[in-house]
Symmetry: D2
Subunit: 384 residues, 4 copies
């Protein structure tokens, strides 16, 4: 691999997230370029390649990994494939960018981290909120002491349901909106506060709008207590009408700030006839709407991809790592456990059921297990 020039990137996946990766890398041509895309469904990789002028296409990602010049591979495939793909990419000696959530179990997370470490490649976790410019400004102010000691950080992400139908199937998605989008809020609070150790997690969730479609929760509230005595409050919803919502609030004993990526950034607009595009998930472009501008930039995707490419070149240190992804997974599992039992769950989290996939815990729990959980919680978390 060379130490100069654009980082050559291969993308695994060609759908919603694959498109975002290709578009975002296209916006930072000084840092990286997409040279290949792999997607198992015949024709899909070609469509993405056509949109973005990508030269090489593959149906088998392993063949893409054999391309010598590719230095970094981004994973936008379904969650249950993340772990194996990461191992394969690392073994091919290429750097890994893995979409959220990192994987399906904490054991998978440990294996991914360890394999990349051994192979000497970077495992980068694609949490774009670490690069969202409005949120980055909030963190800068916090780090400059603007808010004194920060005691409460809130993040909310809400819309009326996921892009792809498979999200509704908990057997495929491993959960509902908390699994799908809670990962962002968990990562955000953890990062914003400077990665303090997490003490415990409390969650409330339910199915409110989409019981006809899914067994997964479509609204969740999550409270995290950190060891530095700060609190995270994370709200996620697939049941919020009116388009996308992504907001934070930061409270310190010396100040407060609010950031809203949508209503707080957009152009309040009324149109009788409608227009091209308002925002992700917008129900209409007629009547009053909240169109966004430079959507990818305002989410921070291009900035994120530039950062990852610069990490590959050794110019920056990764700001979003496999370890971060593992923390998120741990809180997700503890959160589901909490929602099921009605208790605050202490971390480190250990599944009460040995040999069970953690992600599926919430959905498979039965009354015996519940009984067991309560006993476990009162007595304290057993060691593995």
């Amino acid at each position: 691999m060379t130490s100069k020039g654009r980082v050559k990137v291969g993308i695994i996946g060609s759908q919603f997230e694959g498109d975002i990766h290709a578009a975002s890398i296209g916006m930072v041509p000084d840092a990286a370029e997409v040279v290949a895309v792999a997607s198992p469904t015949p024709g899909n990789a070609q469509k993405l390649a056509d949109r973005y002028g990508i030269k090489r296409i593959f149906t088998d990602y392993k063949k893409m990994l054999a391309e010598k010049d590719i230095e970094m591979v981004t994973i936008t495939a379904p969650n249950n494939l993340h772990a194996q793909m990461t191992v394969d990419i690392a073994e091919a000696g290429k750097h890994v960018v893995c979409e959220k959530p990192l994987c399906m179990t904490l054991e998978e997370a440990d294996m991914m981290i360890e394999t990349c470490r051994k192979k000497g490649v970077l495992l980068m976790y694609a949490e774009e909120l670490f690069f969202t410019p409005k949120y980055v400004k909030a963190k800068e102010m916090a780090d400059q002491g603007a808010f004194g000691k920060v005691y409460l950080v809130k993040q909310a992400e809400k819309h009326f349901g996921p892009h792809a139908p498979w999200f509704w199937d908990v057997d495929k998605s491993g959960g509902g909106v908390f699994m799908d989008m809670g990962c962002h809020g968990i990562a955000f609070c953890y990062w914003f506060l400077g990665r303090p150790k997490i003490k415990n997690v409390f969650c409330q969730m339910g199915i409110y709008a989409h019981a006809d479609k899914t067994k997964g929760e479509d609204n969740s509230i999550c409270i995290i207590e950190f060891e530095n005595d700060a609190v995270g409050l994370i709200e996620d919803s697939w049941a919020r009408r009116g388009g996308m919502e992504d907001r934070i609030e930061v409270y310190g004993d010396g100040g407060v700030t609010y950031a809203d990526l949508h209503m707080g950034n957009a152009l309040p607009t009324y149109s009788e006839t409608g227009y091209g595009y308002a925002v992700e998930k917008a129900p209409s472009t007629k009547g009053w709407t909240w169109p966004v501008f430079e959507e990818l930039w305002n989410y921070g995707f291009p900035q994120e991809m530039r950062h990852f490419a610069r990490c590959v070149r050794g110019k920056e240190e990764p700001q979003a790592t496999g370890e971060d992804g593992r923390v998120v997974q741990e809180v997700l599992y503890a959160g589901y456990h909490s929602a099921r039992t009605g208790h605050k769950v202490e971390l480190p989290y250990v599944s009460p059921v040995a040999g069970t996939g953690y992600g599926a815990y919430y959905l498979t729990v039965d009354d015996d297990l519940l009984q067991f959980c309560q006993v476990v919680l009162v007595k304290g978390i057993p060691e593995p």
Copy 2:
């Protein structure tokens, strides 16, 4: 008592809330007039009387109760006096308006309700959020079906600490910000949703900004699950800088609305020199500020007082009752219990310690009690 004309009102108390009552009743002169005020500290009643042209003043409220023409008495005295005052007023055959929180224990609440019932007078609970016009509009829209089935109602009230110094002393106040302001949010969610039965309560709270001043919590988060499957999320703070904040959010499977009484109503204003008055708790009138207009009207105090007076005249049915106040108290005690134990607490709530004042529970709990609570919770709530 006459069935016509202005309702003649006596006020017990002359400080912050007493002033609000006098001013608010002055804004609805068609419905009521303040004819007397009682305050034990010599001179205090006189000051209020001077400001509002009130004719009769008393240091002993019981003497005020002997005035024949007074039909309604409002209580703005410290919380621990509410129960006895209510009984005295009722026994004098006058209608009662009691400020929040209703009382100190559920037994007191039961006694207040029962005494008023027996004496044939109204026990009205002064929860002004039921009359806040912006929130009333939100409820009207909800009741018209604007949001489909409402599954989440949020209310937040935040500022940087209470008006009077005695609030910091938990022995006098019975708690911190959750006791002081959480009562509003609990009442609001309950009322907004149509008074569904409450299933359980989870609370997180702590001392973040004022550990030098108080043992009471200065920030709290409360989650309520209702039997109609809706959820209430209530946030309160004495640690929020920048002036008063009072907001709601309503989420249904068919829509959403947001209402903010301060930043969302005010005139964004910049002044080099400052000016008369911005808003309750505003740290300054210089620089950027958010001045409110017709503050009492926008909170709903005059509307509330007009309603209470019309109830006395039989023209309206009380919308905020002693029973509502009792529900609020129950959730407050369950909330403190939950914050202490880290568990969701099921309702109806029964204190684990017989003969203990519920309000003081949070503050007096020791390790033995905690142990006891956990056992109790796992086994279920014992009958008294």
Copy 3:
């Protein structure tokens, strides 16, 4: 007439404005009550009377004027009837509240003022912006010095066209949106700045959205220079989509404030199904909308009516007078003149065409007249 008790009010007119008067007076029952309504179209007065419980109805307003107990009469009839009605009311010895615009010519204004003066009755001009609470707060801050010396005041009122079809017919309305709503902005700037003498007026206007319906302008921009060196910038439109807009901005060398009665006060709301009522002129209650609350109160109509009633009782001095209305008319005519000629027009304004109704000036001007006007303007305004 009595010096105590509610002021007894008769309303002339039963449509949009008549309804507002009846509703507003109903909100201040301590100060006034509507006892009669007169409307020439059979049945119309009855409908209004039914909605508000008004006892006496008339088709001939002159018969209503014969009712001895009526003390104040409000005029909500078409503009060309204002002068005669005012004279008739004054001659009946009753106080006059006249809706905007005051009349059709400056001679009419002079006669109305003089007649009321002679008869010893009050001529009150129903400019509700003097009572709009959010705007009153802005003025209070200005008067407290919050903005230093105020050099620019802006007011805008915009929607997509008038309530009643006759507004589209310039022969009936005497003009377009500048005549219909510009009167508010002119009055507002004049009042806000403390009624300084007006130096000159510049106007730009045109027909942009409704050329199929009207010969009157549907968008206007008006700049007023005052003798205290402040400037007024007034924008009005019948061509603004999306509902009602009413906003002010105040700029001083020491500060600035913004007030928006609609988007800045409302609850941002999304509804799939719609709901009862959002705001005057709202095109829909589905999708995103900006519903207002306590609409009349936030416009200031009840406060205005209470003020007028208290003036009748001698408890307040009229804050909105016939003289104010005359100033507004003068600026309106000068504004039309300016829009036609492209020149700033100096005040006092004298019509260049003797014997012409001023209100009709804009619409009847021909090329010869234009030529004449230009000469006049370069040479200075001729004396009458």
Copy 4:
């Protein structure tokens, strides 16, 4: 010159705008790089070079023009030097990026355009509002028909006074805030509407806050009528407290949109202690503030510089040209003429005083000239 690779750029000037150019080009490293900077004051070029890692520095810009590899030169020097520098750059065979305003007279503008044409180099006018992403989104929606026929476009830019002291001296700056910032609004409306011919201009201006410092106007209002019947309303101020303001409003017969680069994009923030940086011209970072994020990107400077570099490579057509700059100058002069005379001024604009620098017109006009102007205007604009 090569047809590939980064465009090599030299900057003339090292102060406020020079820094923006260097920073913005640094944000689009795929398209361009700054290789040299020239500034006559010894040491200034070095400081800029140190901040941005620029290798070559010059005190004489003509020596910089001798550098063979430089392909594009940006001018950030005082306005009165723009014309000569443009000629020098063009004669050196390099492309020109000229900051606003383009020059001092229309003759200069004509010469600049003609020289660049003859020499086969691009003359690009640095109007960043054509690239401001929020405004670009508004224009995209307009071009998609979202607002039907647009009849009114507004732009406002306001703060409390310029960066550099020489702006206060009208002999150096050629005018006040209308000259300094009105150029943006004129260009914006013209561009937004698709460059329709301009019919006439009306201006009102005065000195309101800074009479102690300047003879130039510190507040201006400008109305432009276009041949497509649309209107531009442009407001500029050096007398607006509270930090920077940059806003647009777009009204069409089918819809409306609002965009605010500051209060409408920022994070509402309260800080007791302050923090690093809020926004250009912010008076403080304490109390309530409106901090911006990715400030250059949200203004559009990097996007502008990338566009100019791509134009040099032939990949895009210039969107902001010398001809655009000339239109702006013409409106500026007509605007000053209008403000002086109180008349709408028709375009094309011809100075009434042969041989006079147009930019100085407003300031040198005397009574004789005024008399002359009025005659001219009544008779129509004479041909040159």
